[in-house]
Amino acid sequence: MTTPRTVELVVNGEHRAGDAEPRMLLSDFLREQLGLTGTHVGCEHGVCGACTVLVNGEAARSCLMLAVQAAGTEVRTIEGLGGVDDMHPLQEAFWEKHGLQCGFCTPGMLMTAVELLESTPNPSLDDIREAISSNLCRCTGYQTIVEAVQAAAERMQGEAQ
């Protein structure tokens, strides 16, 4: 039906539900129906990567998925990564290495980097550049982002040992 239906899914470990018309994008659903505005929307057509979330553990552009397609999936957004008092090593590293300026691209960069470090704990600089090639940043020039991801990888490796 073109009429709204209830979409049930798990977001950041919590069971959530909201109404969505079939044409509603997952990005808009997260922001408007679930109030999770940490997922940013830049281009809304699959170019900038700002809207990146993890769907069943894999990085996906939430503007290239319908909300109804996410029914029954497990989604991770920036809100689930860590807060002011318990930052994820990636968030700490972005802070320390100046991996952000305006911060608009940052949620997407972080979620892309989360997938990279979970699948490749010890990435080369090329791996990092290749991974974040999906995400646009208009401020930093990328160098500090690459350094931040590298620093976070080192820290997480150290913690794992």
């Binding site: 079939p22 057509h45 990567g49 996906a60 319908l66 397609q69």
Partner: protein, 266 residues
């Protein structure tokens, strides 16, 4: 996006039934091209039939002399597949060169070939390797599948089920991708099987094509140098802000040689 009715069938039969019951139905695969096109209101449909719930459409198996890839297999699965890596490493390289990680996690081989973007990578993979497209009603040779700009031989409501790639003696992939979008400005797949050669080019024209002069030269001598002196005419080639037609013609020669060297290195 214009409104539509959303369907999520769990079987191919159910998907076929829903498509044939609709005046204006469209299957949805990975959505990497179709969803943005719908968002721009460049296209619309009354019924969107999402194939993502049909598990039987995804998967990779090694058959007798070929590798079969299900239509809903994601690019990332092709990159990681031991069967593809062992039998046709050039095809794994092709899949790994598509877009970026988010696109490879969602995009599918079936979606790519049905959308038939002039700069998509898989069409060159199918044509250069002599693949066969299996649909819900017939088998279509890659030579007959791609018919024009965003055009294929598929009939209304026909669904691609899998693609069979014959295992070549050698194959190579070379791509000059746009640095921002990673779409092919020009990319070449070449393969050698029992003395016959196929060389397919994507990104350069309305749709993928073979280069018979190069194939003949390579059949006699499978080396990059065998193509020395063969110039591809720029007539009818694509021109856009990334490359004019003369540059694309030049790139075809360069990428063809790189593809052959890639094949010889494997």
């Amino acid at each position: 996006m214009y409104p539509f009715t959303y369907h999520r069938p769990a079987s191919l039969d159910d998907a076929k039934a829903r498509l044939s019951a609709s005046e204006d139905g469209r299957p949805l695969a990975g959505g990497m091209s179709l969803l943005p096109t719908m968002r721009f209101r460049l296209t619309s449909c009354a019924d969107l039939v999402d194939l993502n719930g049909i598990e039987a459409l995804a998967g990779i198996e090694r058959g007798d002399g070929h590798v079969r890839i299900g239509a809903m297999t994601r690019h990332a699965a092709v990159v990681e597949s031991p069967e593809v890596g062992e039998a046709i490493p050039a095809l794994a390289a092709l899949a790994g060169s598509i877009g970026d990680v988010q696109v490879r996690n969602r995009g599918t081989i079936g979606g790519s070939i049905c959308f038939a973007d002039p700069a998509a990578d898989y069409p060159a993979g199918l044509l250069g390797l002599g693949a066969t497209v299996n649909t819900d009603r017939r088998a279509i040779a890659a030579d007959d599948f791609f018919t024009g700009l965003y055009e294929t031989a598929l009939e209304d409501g026909e669904i691609v089920v899998s693609v069979d790639f014959p295992v070549p003696a050698r194959a190579g992939w070379a791509k000059f991708g746009n640095q921002a979008s990673r779409f092919a400005v020009v990319a070449v797949m070449v393969s050698l099987s029992g003395g016959s050669v196929r060389l397919a080019v994507t990104g350069a024209r309305s749709h993928v094509f073979r280069v018979p002069e190069m194939e003949q030269a390579l059949a006699g001598d499978f080396s990059a140098e065998a193509m020395d002196g063969i110039a591809v005419s720029s007539e009818g080639l694509n021109e856009d802000l990334h490359a004019d037609k003369d540059y694309r013609a030049h790139l075809i020669g360069v990428m063809a040689k790189r593809a052959v060297r890639d094949a010889l290195a494997q």
